[in-house]
Amino acid sequence: MDYFIELFCSGLTRGSIYALIALGYTMVYGIIGLINFAHGEIYMIGAFTSFIVATVLSIYGFPLAAIVVVAGVAAAIWSSAYGYTVEKIAYKPLRHAPRLAPLISAIGMSILLQNYVLLAQTSDFLPFPELIPEFAFMEPIAHIIGSSDIVILLTTTVVMLALTFLIKFTRIGKAMRATAQDRTMALLVGINVDRVISATFIIGSALAAIGGLLIASHIGQINFAIGFIAGIKAFTAAVLGGIGSIPGAVLGSLILGLTESFATGYISSDYEDVFAFSLLVLILIFKPSGLLGKAETKKV
């Protein structure tokens, strides 16, 4: 039973990590229908920025709390800036282009950003400073769940709730949904579509940055290539949950994380990804729009 709980907790952590990245994927897909392959790289840049800022601050002897806050804010700012710029350069000119053009441009961006960080920084793995201390009161259960896991879980929950609220009830949220549905009409009711799309990229990127910071400090190391696998997994999770749906992205991520964890624990980690992807295929066969995705409205 203990073992089960342990695996469950590690599955939750993994799932929450995916969720933070998957939310950005889902938002961008929802609004411009693009699989933003560069999103994983935005997450990586978030991790790198927070690494640089945190290390610099700790070298100059700032207290831990200040480091966490400043590094988090800096990561969010710069990741958003990258997200914003990537959209302006690589996707905006392609709004009216054939459907696959932005996809290729996204793949190009992903390669570009990876190599940019590789060249600007280093190809080596770097130790990420421990930003989330092990709390003393957690000691008795430290073998099951660590404080970084708890922080990750909490953050994901809060972010999901906030985002759901934002999309459902705020003005910008409504504008986002309208833009997602019909861009021309969104313009005709007075929505500044460019700004809404930029906002989506900025919010999604900021989430990825927060994810980057949390994950990097959980794992303790970063390098320029961490975005790719995390990105693919997060995207899988987003699709599993029904792409475009915020709760779907979280649900999909948790299911994916738990599947991988239990597959590793009870079967074999050799095939954890095989299980993850097979699950995806199975679910989509029975629910072609993902778990919480809206079935396509087929009015003829």
């Binding site: 897909y29 699989i35 840049i45 790198f48 920025t49 690494f51 640089i52 800022v53 290390t55 610099v56 710069w78 800036a81 990258y82 710029t85 350069i89 690589a90 392609l94 282009a97 054939p98 696959l100 053009a101 996809l103 290729i104 441009s105 793949i107 190009g108 961006m109 992903s110 390669i111 570009l112 950003l113 990876q114 940019y116 060249l119 600007a120 920084q121 770097l126 130790p127 400073p129 693919i232 995207f235 899988t236 699709v239 792409i243 050799d270 095939y271 990804d273 095989v274 993850a276 992807f277 097979s278 295929v281 989509l284 066969i285 072609p288 729009s289 993902g290 396509e296 087929k298 003829v300």
Partner: protein, 411 residues
């Protein structure tokens, strides 16, 4: 032609990039020694570099707009020169003959190495043409194309290893096996819409690779299978050089066959159904097209070609391991199709040549190579979103009408 306003804008752009790249370009920390180095000179490079690039891009867009305006005045739509040439049979056949001649003479004119690189390029052309059926023509976004390629490669590697089967025997087997896999995968998933299909195929590609990587007893795992025999030629002994040149001609042959077949397919009842399916599935069904079956045919045909090339890949490298079949490979093949121009055979050929030869010739840039590759991919899409060459629609001629009019005249 560059106004002050544009310069100002470019200045702003360059300022923005200075901000953007500040943490990554300027600061470099050494976490072990706990030192920080501030590389201010990089900031200058970024500022100047982005300023110039921004100006150039502006100039390009201004020119493009002017050109559009001019064309509009002349009220004539402009087709690219290549396309014009291709549309004129008078140019088309001599050009094709010339290209074929050049291709045949290539290994004689250049080193074996060049021929070898060309063989790789030819393989990618065929892969691109195969995927083009799936993505370009039928509109099914397949991000796991490399899985079928792996099936082909491993079927040759394994059959050769265990049963000593030869290249020519396995070539069709590999293709058919891959096609079978295409059907197996396609059957449940082809009713998924666009991007869901994409992610499922991506997942499938990964599953195949992971199985090859982990199931040692079957595939020898990550260390791969070596010493695969090269293709034979009526039992003739060949030196390595000859074998490579043979491989080159073999690929030329296969390419010609592929072009022929793909061309015919596109111009057939099936090809039309694929195009229609890409546009509107519901209307297609209402026209009596069996959606699932038609898609399945496209999917497995694409897989078939991937399988063929997989076999050739195994024979050419004489070694296979799962590392050759990653998602990046699928992405490159997809880029070939999109970059070249979806649905266009000539486009795919150009796209493959560019994407395969580019990294080879970018070697001079050494560590900036992949950076440049990514940037070029983005730039090509921005400047030519429809691809290099758009698909050309065939014009059908009507014999019945001539007959009818003739009849009328007689009356």
């Amino acid at each position: 032609m560059i106004t002050v306003k544009e310069v100002k804008k470019s200045l702003l752009v360059s300022l923005w990039f200075v901000f953007l790249t500040f943490p990554l370009m300027v600061i470099k920390v050494n976490p072990y020694e706990r030192t920080v180095s501030w590389r201010w000179s990089n900031m200058l490079y970024v500022a100047i570099g982005t300023f110039v690039i921004s100006l150039l891009a502006k100039a390009w867009f201004v020119r493009k707009e002017r050109r559009m305006a001019r064309q509009q005045d002349s009220c004539r739509s402009r087709t690219p020169i290549i396309q014009k040439i291709l549309q004129r049979p008078g140019y088309r056949y001599p050009l094709a003959a010339f290209l074929l001649g050049a291709a045949l003479a290539f290994p004689q004119l250049f080193s074996t190495y060049q021929a070898n690189i060309m063989t790789t390029a030819l393989m990618y052309i065929v892969l691109g043409l195969g995927l083009n059926i799936v993505v370009g023509v039928a509109g099914l976004l397949d991000l796991g194309y490399v899985a079928f390629y792996a099936v082909g490669a491993y079927s040759y590697a394994l059959l050769n290893l265990h049963f000593g089967m030869g290249f020519w025997t396995v070539l069709p087997i590999g293709g058919l096996l891959a096609a079978l896999f295409g059907v197996l995968l396609g059957f449940p998933v082809l009713r998924l819409r666009g991007d869901y299909l994409a992610i499922v195929t991506l997942g499938f590609g990964e599953i195949i690779r992971l199985i090859l990587e982990n199931w040692n007893a079957f595939s020898k795992g990550p260390s791969g299978i070596s010493n695969i025999s090269r293709p034979g030629f009526f039992g003739m002994e060949m030196s390595l050089d000859q074998a490579m040149i043979y491989m080159y001609y073999l690929m030329i042959g296969l390419l010609l066959v592929t072009i022929f077949v793909v061309n015919r397919l596109q111009d057939s009842r099936l090809g039309r159904a694929w195009l229609a399916l890409r546009e509107d599935e519901i209307a297609c069904q209402a026209m009596g097209i069996d959606k699932t079956r038609t898609k399945l045919i496209a999917f497995s045909l694409g897989a078939f070609w991937a399988g063929l090339i997989g076999v050739i890949f195994a024979a050419k490298t004489t070694f296979v391991n799962p590392a050759s079949f990653t998602f990046m490979e699928s992405a490159i093949i997809l880029s070939i199709v999109v970059l070249g121009g979806m649905g266009s055979i000539v486009g795919v050929i150009l796209g493959a040549l560019i994407l395969v030869l580019l990294p080879e010739y970018l070697r001079a840039l050494s560590e900036y190579r992949m950076l440049a590759f990514g940037a070029i991919l983005v730039a090509m899409m921005i400047f030519k979103p429809e691809g290099l060459i758009a698909g050309v629609r065939r014009v059908y001629c009507y014999q019945g009408r001539k007959r009818n009019t003739a009849l009328k005249n007689d009356e």
